[in-house]
């Protein structure tokens, strides 16, 4: 049992507790983006993949490093992009639907019009 291992375990346990605390406050509405965001965070294994590519010195090592780098990069890039794509869809107010999609363009009530103008602004940051 080395002191380095002890430090690692301490960090692991504390990070786990911080994780429980922070994540239990995420509303159910955002659970899919949350999971996707957590997914992209574990893409940090790319760091590990890069380090093994740096230390590899034989064919097997290169093959392992190649697959690890490809897997990890797919994880990290895909994860962040898809999370961003999902979160972009969460809006406080409806945004104008592009013409041709709603099938009744131009027939909106005055209420609908007002709503659409208001929807142009970014939602206020309330916490």
């Amino acid at each position: 049992m080395t002191s380095a291992l002890l430090t690692d375990i301490t960090i692991f346990v504390l990070a786990l507790l911080v994780g429980f605390e922070v994540i239990s406050k995420v509303p159910a509405t955002l659970h899919t983006p949350l999971m996707s965001a957590a997914n992209s965070i574990h893409g940090i294994i790319l760091v590990g993949a890069m380090l093994i590519a740096a230390s590899a010195n034989n064919a097997l090592g290169y093959v392992l490093a190649f697959i690890a780098a490809a897997f990890a990069a797919m994880n990290v890039v895909g994860g962040y992009v898809v999370t961003g794509r999902m979160l972009k869809m969460f809006r406080r107010r409806p945004t104008p639907v592009p013409a041709g999609q709603d099938g009744h363009g131009g027939q909106l009530s005055p209420d609908g019009q007002a709503r659409q103008v208001a929807g142009g602004g970014t939602p206020g940051a309330s916490s």
Binding site: H31, T32, V47, M50, L51, L64, V77, R91, Q107, S127
Partner: protein, 469 residues
């Protein structure tokens, strides 16, 4: 420790802080995007720091650079393409695939490390062996398990529980070989031994997920997410990198919380789910609920009920997503709102194929998120609702859950039966995953609109338009 090492370590700490703060900002939809951007920034910093380490050390070969960069470009390109083109209904599959590759990469990092150490004359320190083996086993189980889960979600593998004679035995044997082999390896380092453990872990992952039914997928995905996080944290132990440990622990915590929330929302224990098969076992003899007749309704009558309501609560279920009818539903809701009717959506935690899936599907259909209401929040409002419109949801609305002795007893449900009137859009009287009749359908307040969700909602919208227009 040189000044260079100091800077690098501080960058890793900053990256880890960005991950924590990024997750913290996800506590409201308004700040969630900034959270994701912050988290991305942390990731970029961590990767840049790693580049600096590699260049500073200067020991990397040209082949090493080529392998790393082509691998990362190929993988990154594939990830980018998948993320840009995926349908929101297919999100659970994609998350499963990302779980698989993350777990796989974590296992590969440990395998590489182990082979190097075993080849060295100094041998493998025991503490390293333990974390390495944990990383390899958890990573490999996650890899094969997530692939099977993704295959089930995509429909490539049957979504119903798959068992074959002796499947339980194979599963147990793989577990025994994996654990026994791991104990042996701690004492005697051996590369072939590691290979056997990897195979056992892969087999275990497959036989763990195959018998799990489609309705339990939200739990399985969450659990595999927690596994990947743990594998990445273990990889951090192996290569001595704190950023990996912290990031892995955060993901482990997230997956753990979601697993518990999903299991609670279905009132099933994790053990029960892993053993598999909703309604396939010997469910207790059901206590007979109130019988009665089903009242079918046509589009025009349903539209009248909706158009003259003051408050409508929509209860969407997976059937809505399966019919790809979320846009039609949003259009109907918009029509009602323009007419001054208060509309909200009651969303059960397990609506969809992964935690929170229904919210994303509705957000995609332009439904503003303040209208998306969680179960505990919206349940007290059902008695004030003039119409509850149930689209593609079944078991989560069944009042039988309140009585003991049924397959779903104790499961938290949406109090749809408290509404003044109820319209259910459904293709047939077929029962849901729990395999029991829904007592809501024979409630005197309930009208059944038998049709495909997409067609039914379009007809309803048209009928409402003629009424209010």
């Amino acid at each position: 420790m040189s000044a260079f090492d100091w800077v690098i370590q501080l960058v890793y700490v900053a990256a880890a802080s960005c991950f924590v703060l990024g997750l913290h900002l996800m506590n409201t939809p308004a700040t969630a995007r900034r959270g994701n951007q912050l988290s991305t920034g942390g990731m970029v910093a961590a990767i840049a720091a790693t580049f600096a380490i590699i260049i500073h050390a200067g020991t990397i070969s040209v082949t090493g650079w080529i392998v790393m960069l082509t691998g990362a470009l190929l993988g990154g390109g594939a990830g980018l393409y998948a993320a840009r083109t995926v349908q929101m209904t297919a999100m659970p599959q994609l998350v499963s695939v990302f779980n698989a590759v993350g777990g796989g990469a974590a296992a590969l990092v440990a395998i590489h490390d182990y082979i190097n150490l075993a080849g060295a004359s100094a041998g493998v320190p025991e503490s390293t062996t333990v974390t390495t083996l944990l990383d390899v086993i958890i990573g490999a189980v996650t890899f094969s398990g997530s692939i099977i889960a993704a295959g089930k979600l995509q429909g490539l593998i049957s979504g119903s529980p798959i068992t074959f004679p002796g499947s339980r035995v194979v599963n147990m044997a793989a577990a025994v070989v994996g654990i026994g082999g791991a104990i042996y390896l701690i004492v005697t380092p051996s590369v072939p031994g590691l290979l056997i453990i990897i195979l056992a872990a892969l087999v275990f992952g497959v036989t763990m997920v195959l018998p799990i039914g489609g309705a339990d997928m939200p739990v399985v995905i969450s659990l595999l997410n927690a596994f990947t996080g743990t594998a990445v944290a273990m990889a951090g132990f192996v290569i001595g990198n704190w950023a990996l440990i912290i990031a892995g622990a955060l993901v482990g915590a997230s997956g753990g919380i979601l697993t518990k929330l999903m299991a609670d929302a279905m009132n099933r224990s994790l053990r029960n789910i892993m053993i598999g098969g909703f309604g396939t076992g010997d469910s207790a003899a059901a206590v007979e609920g109130p019988g009665g007749d089903v009242r079918p309704i046509a589009a025009d009558d349903a539209a009248i009920q909706l158009a003259y309501a003051q408050k409508v609560i929509i209860v969407p279920g997976y059937g809505l997503a399966a019919a790809q009818a979320q846009h039609q539903l949003a259009e109907l809701a918009k029509e009602l709102e323009n007419h001054g009717i208060e509309v909200s959506y009651a969303i059960h935690p397990v609506a969809g194929r992964m935690p929170g899936h229904m919210n994303v599907l509705l957000a995609e259909a332009n439904v503003p998120y303040p209208q998306l209401r969680e179960m505990d929040d919206v349940n007290p409002e059902f008695p004030r609702a003039d119409v509850a419109l149930v689209v593609g949801a079944n078991d989560v609305t069944n009042p039988a859950a309140r009585r003991p002795g049924t397959a779903i007893s104790g499961m938290p449900i949406l109090d749809v039966d408290q509404a003044k009137s109820i319209i259910v859009i459904k293709r047939s009287m077929a029962s849901g995953y729990a395999g029991i009749d829904n007592e809501l359908y024979v409630n005197p307040k309930t009208s059944m609109y038998f049709a495909d969700a997409k067609k039914a909602l379009s007809e309803l919208t048209a009928a409402v338009k003629t009424l209010v227009g």
